[in-house]
Symmetry: C2
Subunit: 762 residues, 2 copies
């Protein structure tokens, strides 16, 4: 019995904490990475996959005081730009690394002195409640953010639990201390986005409310409960709506001060305090997608007390546990890159249900999650590539719950489709393809399918047969999406073909031969948009001829999305041999790849390229967007596999730096970071839906991957060095590994993989 | 045992149906009464206290096609004006007899021929989906409405269950038959009132959706489920909103036809059919205040099948049972007046919860009604007077549930107050006083309090002590509401005093002496706004002097609401003797009353009087508004009680006629009708909160009141006649009744009351 007990101690958590004794990993997380320019990450506090993302807003691409629209809408997807000099406040929801904007709900700002309810302008100090700040007075860590607000001398500290944001404001002595709750604020908050907001004061330190918005999530409701650690002396609201027809009755009360409720489209609230020097006022702010009661219950369940440090430490312990899933050795810089990448892969998708399991469904009804955790924020065009495959290794349970979340989405979908880009009980149909099928297929093929796999296959098939969706009908009939049907007809054709291949793999695994045959045939469709005359994928018209106007370097109106033909022509990761043959064989294919990485892209084409910085492009290879994420690994299928190793080791340091401007493009809810994690430990899921990983060139000295059940997959890199990028030999559990491939089962079995590196290629 | 069983058969229901064998009462219900001009009733279908009120709209005081506002907003409170020549469609929610406008949710209209999605203008036939109709082709009965739509030759029939509207449309033969669902429509539907609407098509004959509005109910959500008896061939939406920022993604689908969902602020939907000559298409439309799932469950629970006649008959059987609570003998005209009055008293308040007991609370959370039926639509300034007292006799269970509904409202209130004028989980604070306390007191004092009476008292006291509400603080401090604090300071002072007296009665009944003393003292406050110099109640300033500007005939800016000083000076029904003394004694008081009924009111004052027709005024006595409803009974406290009898018999036929224009003012959710019922059977609750009823002069030949437990209170009128309006003698259970008073216990004990009438007064 004693022996058995000892063995039990060797379970996952124990091992992890045993190992943690070696080194604290949270110290390497720098959420500030990617906050400058195009990374679109945020520096604030969150726990892994947390429903609350509590972070400062430096701007929100909203309309300014004069009603003039801020054109930089796509720069403020996460509400924060590192170059900015002022902070507007701290809001509770943020996307991490997206290219589109929404959220930024419930902005809170502490101030002192004369009450200013308007945020004011960044270039006019004192014009509103906005405050200057300095990065010298800023701390951004996992689940902890701190900043000094110069306008008020208030120090703001933020931390979170899954569903609760916790603010700690250290005030100066003042008879006029305020905490503002701005329900008008929001990221990309164009007029009309707020369809309704509501606030109810419960007592002198507690309030609840909600916000209904029409944004990227078209029909969205988010509820809150808010508690102050100290009673406010008085409170007030200001309503900026146009007349209320029945507003006259409100004359019954003097509502200018201390009225207990308000509703409308444009509301700000304030709460007044007297503070002593260095007095701390704490605020707990819980969210719920279901109800105000739900928000209150979430607060009670997660943060019943007022211990800021406990909430911070609990959240950081969660991060420590998650970061520990892959540990590396290497330089501090590499650790910062690596663990911040790990951090960025575990923010989105986010948990989207109350502590009691209730959530708002896509059908706008309230549901109870039956035996799973419901997630939202599925940026699937990005994340099917490497993020979900990474989850299948280090977050198998969460990935299965994400699949379950997609399946209930399917059940609740008016269109009868799996998610494309879903958030907060809404589908926004963003980007091309139907890549949720690749996520489902990857989980099933890899054996991480503790859900109804046959139902999952049915959902994939129904989605892929939805004839009315962006040219699928024509794609089925003609084998490609005609140029006339879609502005991104070629991307769609290529991505549908890929997704169809994934469905076929899933069907094969489940023994559904008919489905396999149907979809493996469809997966060949990528060939139908290849024009051998020009050597590129090219928009094809309904009559079968290629469109005359064609510029393979342009991304504007050329039939592609977030990529040009040069990059997209390589989009057949499911069939490297077939693609190589199609493109003229090994030699021509290598030359094509080489050109991609080395050509000099004229500036005019760079200007067209969305969501990335100039550094996000290498030659004409666009790492800052996703369509080429597999491309560097293509050399493995040619006679020059060492070029994969060379390219990976070139991309890694150029595209990922441990600095605010360190990300060359949108992190895209963790896909860019997941690419980094895989590539830096030596392999990459070339085609999710298969069990294979293509081997590249690891940049770490060693890595330990927790693969579950207490097992580890240990990667050792011999003779590592910046110039030693070439893989001379690999052993797996002491035996030579033949070929440049490793399978999922080989990894998940645990074991030792040793890379022998050299400065010369074989 | 056999004998016992026989005794059980004598329970309420059995007795009722035994009696019903005599005569069908539903035949006398004419919902069309009051639909012309100021009655503000609606002619459509509903069951007693039904959540659905399915009725035609002839107009909705909305904006016209050119964006020009219809100034007749207060004429369309119920959506129907008898003089109108066209019908816009049939919507599912209506107030009955109110003076303010809201609701009119989910308008449905069947058409044939070219699809027109705009309602068009009444004076431009064919300009939209609106249709001409004729009263000759119209049937308006309890729970049944039928009309022929001239534009399409469609016959529309409507009936309901509590939560489901049932439409039956008989179409001509057409390849272009349509049913339009207009989510933009609504009563008093000013721009911005729709904050969000949503529709989801579930299959070719089923859809769900919701509508969120900002109207009289400021934050209101109503959900629906809709089923057609026949699949539609195709459907479509039209959205009239301004641009959606993220609308571009919707290009993924062709949404012009057959797209399964839509959301926005301004939406119309249509459903296309082919119909044979006389083909019936039926529509079931269920509501829920909670969710779309709730609406679907309500439909399934109440109307699982498609038998229109069954639903109609079931609803009419409900009416028959309710009408049977008081039966009368008299002329057909009197029966029409009487049973239509009975009908109008049993529409509002309305049930406001799903079949499973869930409802939306005032706090905007979802609650489950614990052992009671939750009601909404409390027009309490009107209904505390006679409607709730009537319920305490013939609807004791419902009245107790209404009190419970008010108590949960109190619990959920941000202000910590009982309802003033509440609807659909919202408080609109309309009118003066806090008369819910009179409803609670009346129930407690009369022993109909199967709820926590002490909690009810606490709620009353909390409400009455809410210093920040319309001058209550000053009222407590100074004994009156100062003119400076409220535009209706005198009405408020008088009504607060009345309500305080009611609280005192309740406290006395519950043995709370302190509360009794506090509030009986407050109830004397009415005397503080009486100016003996002019002999009228008059606005008093904070400094204790009366306001100089004063016109006792005017209702504009004189300190009163829906009444002038002449009428309001008599507002102390709780203390007739005190008032008579205050006003100079018996002789002067009689002269005052006589003048009120006989004076010639200059036209300019009539023009100021809200919500009533010219006929709604007798002299300067305004029966069409409520403040004087007790006034005719005041003669009982003078030496000329026969004048009460004379006035009542004058008012009854002048103010109530069985015609569309038969109501002299807003029915006010049944208060006007309740006055009719009481007065026509011979007594009236002068001061709810006491057990006493003042005796008037019955206009019926006899009446049988079901007082519960199988008992009846039988009223017989000997020597009845239009001129025999004077009561010579009354016996109760064979013994002379002394005085002009009868108590609640005397009525509820059952028994025989005989009036002996004469053409000469005593």
């Amino acid at each position: 019995m004693k022996k058995l007990f000892g063995a039990l101690l060797l379970c996952w958590g124990m091992q992890a904490s045993a190992q943690k004794a070696h080194e604290n990993l949270v110290q390497y997380v720098k959420p500030i990475i990617g906050t400058e320019r195009m990374g679109h990450t945020y520096p604030g506090a969150t726990v892994p996959f947390g429903m609350v993302q509590l972070s400062p807003e430096t701007d929100t691409a909203s309309y300014d005081l004069n009603g003039k629209y801020n054109p930089k809408v796509y720069e403020y997807c996460a509400g924060y730009q590192y170059e900015d000099k002022t902070i507007v406040g701290f809001s509770h929801t943020h996307f991490s690394g997206t290219g589109h904007s929404d959220l930024g709900d419930f902005l809170i700002m502490p101030t002192v002195g004369e009450l200013k309810l308007n945020p004011g302008l960044a270039d006019k100090p004192g014009s509103g409640y906005r405050s200057a700040f300095s990065h010298a007075n800023e701390v951004s860590a996992a689940n902890y953010y701190k900043v000094k607000l110069d306008a008020s001398n208030i120090t703001a500290e933020l931390t979170t639990s899954t569903r609760v944001g916790f603010h700690q404001y250290t005030f100066p002595k003042s008879d006029q201390s305020h905490i503002i709750l701005d329900l008008m604020a929001g990221i990309y908050n164009y007029p009309g986005k707020n369809v309704w907001t509501y606030v109810k004061i419960i007592n002198d330190s507690t309030l609840v409310g909600y916000r209904s918005t029409n944004g990227w999530a078209r029909t969205r409701n988010l509820y809150f409960a808010m508690k102050f650690s100290k009673p406010f002396i008085q409170h007030g609201f200001k309503k900026y709506d146009q007349r209320e027809v029945y507003g006259g009755f409100w004359g019954k009360f003097n509502q200018s001060k201390n009225f207990p409720e308000i509703a409308g489209k444009q509301i700000r609230a304030y709460f007044d305090f007297k503070t002593e020097e260095n007095e701390k006022i704490k605020v707990k702010f819980a969210l719920s997608p279901v109800s105000m009661d739900g928000a209150m219950a979430n607060m009670q369940a997660e943060v019943p007390g007022w211990d800021f440090d406990k909430v911070k430490n609990d959240g950081q312990a969660q991060w420590e546990k998650e970061l520990d899933k892959i540990t590396i050795t290497g330089s501090v810089e590499k650790k910062q890159n690596f663990y911040t990448s790990m951090y960025h892969t575990m923010i989105n998708p986010t948990i989207y249900m109350d502590a009691d399991g209730q959530y708002k469904g896509l059908d706008q009804n309230i549901h109870k999650a039956d035996g799973f955790t419901n997630y939202t924020t599925f940026s699937l065009w990005d994340t099917y590539r490497a993020l979900h495959p990474l989850f299948n290794i280090i977050q198998p349970q969460r990935n299965a719950d994400m699949v379950r979340s997609m399946l209930v989405h399917f059940d609740q979908s008016a269109e009868g489709m799996l998610p494309v880009w879903s958030n907060s009980a809404n589908e926004n149909w963003c980007m091309s393809g139907y890549h949720s099928v690749a996520v489902l297929a990857d989980a099933v093929v890899k054996g991480n399918a503790p859900f109804d796999a046959n139902k999952a296959l049915d959902a994939c098939v129904a989605t892929a047969r939805k004839r009315s969706y962006e040219g699928i009908g024509e794609y089925i009939d003609k084998g490609y999406v005609p140029d006339e049907r879609s502005g991104t007809s070629v991307s769609n054709t290529l991505e549908y073909a890929y997704d169809d291949w994934a469905i076929a793999q899933m069907a094969k695994k489940l023994g559904k031969t008919d489905i396999y045959n149907e979809f493996i045939k469809r997966s060949e469709n990528y060939k139908n948009v290849y024009d051998p005359k020009v050597g590129f994928m090219r928009p094809k018209k309904a009559d079968g001829t290629f469109r005359a106007k064609f510029d393979p370097l342009s991304t504007i109106n050329e039939g592609f999305i977030e990529g040009n033909s040069w990059n997209y022509t390589l989009f057949a990761p499911q069939d490297p041999q077939g693609l190589i043959k199609l493109m003229g064989g090994n030699q021509r294919f290598v030359r094509y790849l080489d050109s991609l990485f080395t050509m000099n892209l004229p500036d005019k084409y760079f200007a067209e390229t969305e969501d990335i910085t100039r550094d996000g492009i290498i030659g004409n290879y666009v790492h800052g967007n996703e369509p080429s994420h597999h491309v560097a690994y293509f050399y493995n299928w040619t006679d020059k596999p060492w070029k994969t190793q060379e390219r990976i080791r070139m991309i890694l340091p150029r595209m990922y730096k441990p600095t605010p401007d360190g990300l060359g493009g949108n992190d895209d809810t963790g896909q860019m970071s997941a690419w980094y994690i895989f590539s830096s430990i030596g392999f990459y899921p070339m085609a999710p839906g298969s069990v294979d990983y293509a081997i590249g060139s690891p940049s770490v000295n060693s890595a330990v991957v927790q693969v579950g059940n207490g097992k580890t997959f240990n990667i050792t890199v011999k003779n590592q060095g910046d110039k030693n990028v070439y893989v001379q030999k690999i052993t797996l559990n002491g035996k030579p590994l033949n070929g440049l491939n490793i399978t999922h089962d080989q990894i998940m079995a645990g074991g030792d993989m040793v890379f022998y590196m050299s400065s010369k290629h074989k």
